[in-house]
Amino acid sequence: MFDFLQLIIYGIVLGCILALGAVGVSLTFGILGFANFAHGDLMTVGAYFGYIFIRQVGLPFWVSLPIACALTVAVALTVDWTVFRPLRSRPPVILLISSFGMALILRSLIQLIWGSDQLVYEQGIQQPWRWGELNIQPDQVIIIVGAIGLVTALHFFLQNTKVGKAMRAMADNVDLAKITGINTERVVMWTWILGALMAGAAGIFLGLDTQIAPTMGWRVLLLIFAATILGGIGNPYGAIAGGLVIGLASELSTLVISPAYKSAVAFAILVLMLIFKPTGLLGGR
């Protein structure tokens, strides 16, 4: 029983990270029409920006987080302006291939600057908080609190601002949204801003939960795609729910199968969804 509850905690922590990553993938998929294979590596970029401010500059965590996220947004916008925008008039699969190349560019740049060694935000072992036999790390609390904060902010943005509403409209039906006179370029820009903001935070949280390494984002990309499709493409709320489901499912699966195959569980869910309900649980495209 305690094993089960402990795994639920791990699952929620992983789920929060995946949810933040999946929001960006879902929005870009819905609005720009391509699966962004560079999104995982954008998370890695965020994690390394976090490393600069937390370890190399020595700022407190809650100050470093927004700075690192802002810089991740700057990287995403630069990539969009220089690489993706000129290709947008072409079939979306070209963007997909280009993003696959972009993923490698970001990863090699990181390796070039920081090398391939694994890094951590804080040296030493943290003392976990104990609840009977349950353990919870302070880092895990940071991740959950941070994710709840960001998702709440996202919710208010999507529901109450004009850009947020336009974004939901475009993710739902691009052609219909364009007819109503929505400024497409503005919405695309905000899509990258929101997606990269969440990706940067997800990267830092992933680095807190495990370690910082150049391949960390690429490794979770499959889980993020699974979360996106589970929640329905273009549906940010679905992406959050999908992230939690995938996080919980992959952690709980270790009760039955070898932990080495955790990501295979996400893949199995992905395949089942593609066969039986490709529009996702909460509806999307």
Binding site: F34, A35, V93, L96, F100, G101, L112, L270, V271, P278
Partner: protein, 323 residues
């Protein structure tokens, strides 16, 4: 470097480039002909490599394989196994949109990687498998034999896929790529044709993997990083010209030439940079892909589908059909 050293390097270079050219031809059938996005090329490449290896190495206690079979049996087994894998992957994902196929194939690649790494009883895990025999090693042990075998397979693959491209079969695949609903309306079994193209392309990738294993003589899960088994193959195909069989081969040789050439540049870098040189070289290849996609998306040799009446028209008029 003296003449014999240069010659040996030339044979080494051509053999590897030839293996990559076979791999690129496999991807060309999937992406170039039919527009199917396979981001898991490495999965089929490594399954082919392991299948042939397990059939041909000497018997041993560490893992299941080791049947001392001749290399040709290994190659056939590699084709059969990758074909079966591709059949099941395709059966599930090919009725779906092309971007779902892309996502599903990275999933396959991840699972293949996990199996190779964790199922030590089958694959000897991270320790890898050494002592993979070369073709005809009993008769004549020379790097030229390997090169000849690779070029032979390459020639055969080129001939077959070029014929398939001109045949009605290739025309249906191109039609699916250009306009799926119209092809469906013309009464073609779209999913069936896709499945054939996907399986055939993957089998070619499997052969390339098997040849790679016999060439290098040692394989481990680390040898199949997606950068070198999937990404670089995509760059080769797009640089050479997707849809053009000659372009695919040219792309493989050109990109492999650039890749090998950048190795020389990294020798002049300061010592502290040597460890990061690999990242720098990948960065260059990544930037190259973006430049090609922007400036010359049709590649070095653009696709030239046979004109409907190309036999009767004057030479030179058989230009690209309007899309």
């Amino acid at each position: 470097m003296d003449v014999s050293g240069l010659l040996a390097y030339g044979v080494f270079f051509l053999t590897l480039a030839g293996i990559y050219a076979i791999l690129t031809l496999g991807l060309n059938i999937q992406w170039g002909y039919a527009g199917m996005l396979n981001i898991g090329v490495g999965a089929f490449f490594s399954v082919g490599a392991y299948a042939s290896t397990l059939a041909t190495v000497a018997p041993n206690d560490a893992f299941v394989g080791g049947f001392n079979a001749p290399v040709i049996v290994g190659l056939l087994l590699a084709m059969a196994l990758t074909g079966i894998l591709a059949f099941f992957v395709g059966l599930i994902t090919l009725p779906l949109r092309s971007d779902y196929l892309a996502i599903a194939t990275i999933g396959i690649a991840e699972i293949v990687r996990l199996v190779l790494k964790n199922e030590a009883w089958l694959t000897n895990g991270v320790r890898g498998i050494a002592g993979i025999p070369k073709p005809l090693a009993g008769l004549l042990n020379s790097p030229w034999v390997m090169l000849t075998v690779v070029l032979l397979v390459l020639g055969l693959t080129y001939w077959a896929s070029d014929r398939a491209y001109r045949a009605p079969w290739g025309r249906v695949l191109r039609a699916i790529r250009e306009d799926e609903p119209a092809t469906l309306a013309a009464g073609k079994n779209v999913v069936g044709f896709r499945l054939q193209g996907f399986v055939l392309g993957s089998m070619i990738m499997g052969v390339a993997g098997a040849l790679y294993a016999h060439f290098v003589g040692f394989i481990s899960p680390e040898a199949f990083q997606p950068e070198f088994t999937t990404f670089i193959v995509w760059v080769m195909l797009i640089a050479g010209g997707s849809g053009n069989t000659r372009g695919a081969i040219l792309g493989a040789f050109v990109i492999w030439g650039i890749w090998s050439g950048t190795e020389l540049i990294t020798h002049v870098l300061p010592a502290a940079w040597v460890t990061r040189a690999g990242a720098l070289r990948l960065l260059l290849i990544g930037v190259l892909l973006q430049v090609i996609l922007r400036l010359r998306p049709e590649g070095l040799l653009p696709e030239r589908p046979p004109h409907p009446n190309y036999r009767s028209s004057a030479p030179g008029q058989s230009s690209r059909t309007p899309e």
